[in-house]
């Protein structure tokens, strides 16, 4: 009875806390400007299924993709076992589905166990890649401090989780062999793929009482880790396991080369070019604060940019593909996303009026002017994040609100305005090539 009460309290508390934190994140994301991504639902579902569920873009690097797939499928399939843990916890049963599902139960748990072993191996390799092999992509300076700890913590928690599963199943397997399991009064065996040999191998010499304690440690340990993990997500880059789905659903479906149109500018340019427009006509009085051109802070970005920031798991494929980064420039698309998220969380806590802004306090001008708009970062992102649209919006703010840009660009823009070409050539000479010797 007590255990049911404790279990219920812990479960309700965990889901409650998680919901509160996710609502905070939703509120933060909605600080962004509106952008319509409600069109083309069939294409959006397809993109989500392929890119998030099917992990299509991970497979540009097949070895890592397979390791990641092992972790991902173990995570998804283990939720089946979690359902049983939940039902057991609330009702006080032990392995409630064991009898009703029969051999399918053995199959399901065995499947989970095999995947868990693969996930265990993947986790060890991932830890080694980060900490022993020191892969450059996973050890860049923007990861110093918390991001690096975050990454390692996630992997360590995954190891603990897997060890709990095997402690629980292994101990129960040995108990069953001695007629001491709670599933049945007689001796028997589950026949789980891994624990049926792992259990006897590790726990054989222990007493029935010790085994029962171990089995409970595994059960409660697994459950506790799930709840800790769940509530760790809102603070971690690991949130991608949830947000990858909405983020790919709301992907930009246009050609990558298309840069978003600024409607406010279109209105003004149309007015300027309309010969019938009355320049002295009074405009509609409005209390609305005029919108800033481009982006200086997170609230000037779109909600999709902000969802992108929360979906980023800091894998750094964008940065390793970035031509500017590869040639030693300060720009790192991953850092653009991390900065956006950090600033957004700061704004979520303390508001916008803290004298700081995304551009300036987090992202520097030097970074955004190094971008070649080549779309390599957009192409690489396994969850369809678009760092380029943030970079362009920051440039727009600098140029249109502050007239700040590299001096050569001022000249280039003047040329376009004066003579219709980025260089100083007369527009009337445009066809001269046709008369020249070929």
């Amino acid at each position: 009875m007590w255990t049911i009460l404790i279990f219920s309290a812990v479960t309700i508390f965990s889901f409650g806390l998680f919901s509160i934190n996710m609502l905070k994140i939703r509120k933060n994301i909605l600080l962004g400007r509106d952008i319509d991504r409600s069109d083309n639902r069939a294409e959006r579902w397809k993109t989500m299924l392929l890119v998030a569920f099917g992990q299509k873009k991970m497979f540009s690097r097949p070895f890592v993709a397979l390791l990641h797939l092992a972790l991902y499928s173990a995570f998804v399939i283990t939720q089946i076992e979690l359902i049983e843990i939940m039902v057991d916890g609330f009702t006080g049963h032990h392995r409630v589905f064991y009898e009703s599902l029969g051999s399918f139960y053995t199959f399901a748990i065995s499947f989970i166990e095999v995947l868990s072993v693969l996930a265990f191996i993947a986790t060890i390799i991932f830890l080694a890649r980060r900490n022993l092999l020191k892969l450059p992509r996973l050890n860049m300076k923007e990861l110093a401090g918390w991001p690096k700890k975050d990454a390692n913590l996630i992997l360590i928690m995954e190891i603990v989780l897997i060890l709990c599963i095997f402690t629980m199943n292994g101990a129960d397997e040995v108990l069953y062999g001695r007629g001491g399991s709670h599933v049945a009064f007689e001796k028997g065996h589950f026949g789980f793929a891994v624990s049926s040999w792992f259990g006897p191998l590790v726990f054989d010499g222990l007493t029935v009482e010790t085994l029962r304690v171990l089995e409970r440690i595994g059960w409660w340990g697994h459950l506790t880790m799930v709840f800790v993990f769940l509530n760790y997500l809102p603070y971690s880059k690991h949130l991608h396991i949830l947000l990858a789905f909405p983020n790919t659903y709301f992907s930009n479906l246009n050609a990558k080369g298309k840069i978003s149109n600024m409607e406010a500018v279109t209105q003004e340019v149309k007015l300027m070019m309309d010969p019938t427009a009355d320049p002295y006509a009074a405009t509609e009085p409005s209390d609305a604060v005029p919108q800033r051109f481009g982006a200086k802070d997170v609230n000037d970005l779109t909600w999709k940019n902000l969802l992108d920031a929360y979906s980023c798991t800091e894998c750094g494929r964008c940065t390793s593909a970035c031509p500017a980064n590869q040639t030693g420039k300060l720009l790192s698309p991953r850092k653009i996303m991390m900065d956006t998220r950090d600033r957004l969380m700061e704004v979520g806590e303390g508001g916008l009026e803290d004298g700081k802004s995304l551009l300036g306090n987090y992202i520097t001008e030097e970074e955004i002017w190094a971008c070649t708009s080549c779309n390599a970062c957009v192409q690489e992102c396994p969850v369809n994040i678009d760092p380029l649209s943030i970079i362009i919006d920051l440039r727009r703010y600098l140029v249109m609100e502050e007239s700040k840009m590299p001096t050569e660009l001022t000249g280039m823009l003047t040329n376009i305005e004066n003579n219709g070409a980025p260089w100083q050539f007369s527009q009337s000479d445009r066809l001269n090539w046709a008369q020249e010797e070929s």
């Binding site: 540009s60 050609a255 990558k256 080369g257 298309k258 840069i259 149109n261 600024m262 500018v265 279109t266 003004e268 340019v269 149309k270 300027m272 070019m273 051109f293 481009g294 031509p323 500017a324 590869q326 040639t327 030693g328 420039k329 720009l331 002017w369 190094a370 070649t372 708009s373 080549c374 779309n375 390599a376 957009v378 440039r395 727009r396 703010y397 600098l398 140029v399 249109m400 590299p406 050569e408 660009l409 280039m412 823009l413 376009i416 305005e417 219709g420 070409a421 980025p422 260089w423 050539f425 527009q427 009337s428 000479d429 445009r430 066809l431 001269n432 090539w433 046709a434 020249e436 070929s438």
Partner: protein, 262 residues
């Protein structure tokens, strides 16, 4: 050989409408190297008797570098003025040898009211060959040569055109060799996003040199591109490594014009 380059206004005066507008672009009009690409394409169009015209002095920058430099006003002013000219001539179809013009005309003008069918010159040439209007039968100009294709970002990743230029190179009596980074993984030449018009930010290497190294690694004799800016960047890269006697940088249109002995 004299080039036949009718303008839209001449055509209009004669009461004719061309099938397709050739959008030359700023580089193609003014840059000495890029002008050769423009002429190569015109030779192909003339040879195949394509009914085309150019805007000539009525053409103006599409606004691509202005938009990417963050100046939306300049971009939209350029776009609206160009759309007025294009619509005035009732243009339906446009070909261009510049992927930046291609991308802007194709993807960014519709939202401002300019709707045209826009193709890259490699797509047009491929069509001319497929329909039998241009023959490369028995061409031996590039016999024994290795050619590698550098994907322009605004053609490849930005618009998913990877096959047309390659299909053309495969028609030549030469071997197409790929760089380790190609197609979706292709590395930028360093010119896009208005970088062409400014010094690079502080770093430890120029992007075009990083890319030229990829090309040199393939041991190709020719680096083919489909973009006047990539052409400039790769040509500079080759010069930097003192390889200008071993490697030439050519546009796909030039390769085809040479092979067809135009």
């Amino acid at each position: 050989m004299n080039l036949n380059v009718p303008t839209m206004s001449e055509m209009l005066a004669k009461g004719e409408t061309p099938e397709i507008l050739f959008w030359v672009g700023c580089a193609g009009s003014f840059d000495d190297r890029a002008k050769k690409i423009t002429k190569a394409l015109v030779k192909i169009l003339n040879n195949c008797k394509v009914n085309f015209a150019v805007l000539g002095a009525e053409e103006s920058c599409t606004g691509d570098p202005a938009r990417r430099a963050g100046n939306e006003f300049t971009f939209q002013m350029q776009a609206m003025m160009n759309i007025q000219v294009l619509d005035g001539y009732q243009v339906k179809k446009i070909v261009t040898a510049c992927p930046h013009c291609f991308n802007t005309l194709k993807n960014e003008y519709p939202e401002l009211g300019g709707n045209y069918e826009v193709i890259h010159h490699t797509q047009l040439i491929q069509d001319l060959i497929n329909t039998g209007k241009l023959s490369l039968e028995g061409n031996q100009t590039f016999n024994g040569k290795k050619i590698t294709f550098h994907d322009p970002c605004y053609l490849g990743r930005a618009n998913d055109v990877y096959e047309a230029p390659r299909a053309l190179i495969e028609r030549l009596d030469a071997e197409l060799v790929e760089m380790k980074r190609c197609k979706t993984n292709g590395l930028c030449c360093g010119a896009g996003g208005a970088q062409m018009f400014k010094e690079a930010e502080k770093g430890n290497k120029e992007i075009n040199l990083e890319r030229t190294e990829d090309a040199i690694e393939t041991a190709a004799n020719i680096i083919a591109t489909g973009c006047p800016f990539c052409n400039t960047m790769m040509t500079d890269g080759v010069k930097n490594f003192n390889k200008e006697n071993e490697i030439v940088v050519m546009d796909v249109a030039e390769l085809i014009a040479n092979a067809a002995e135009l």
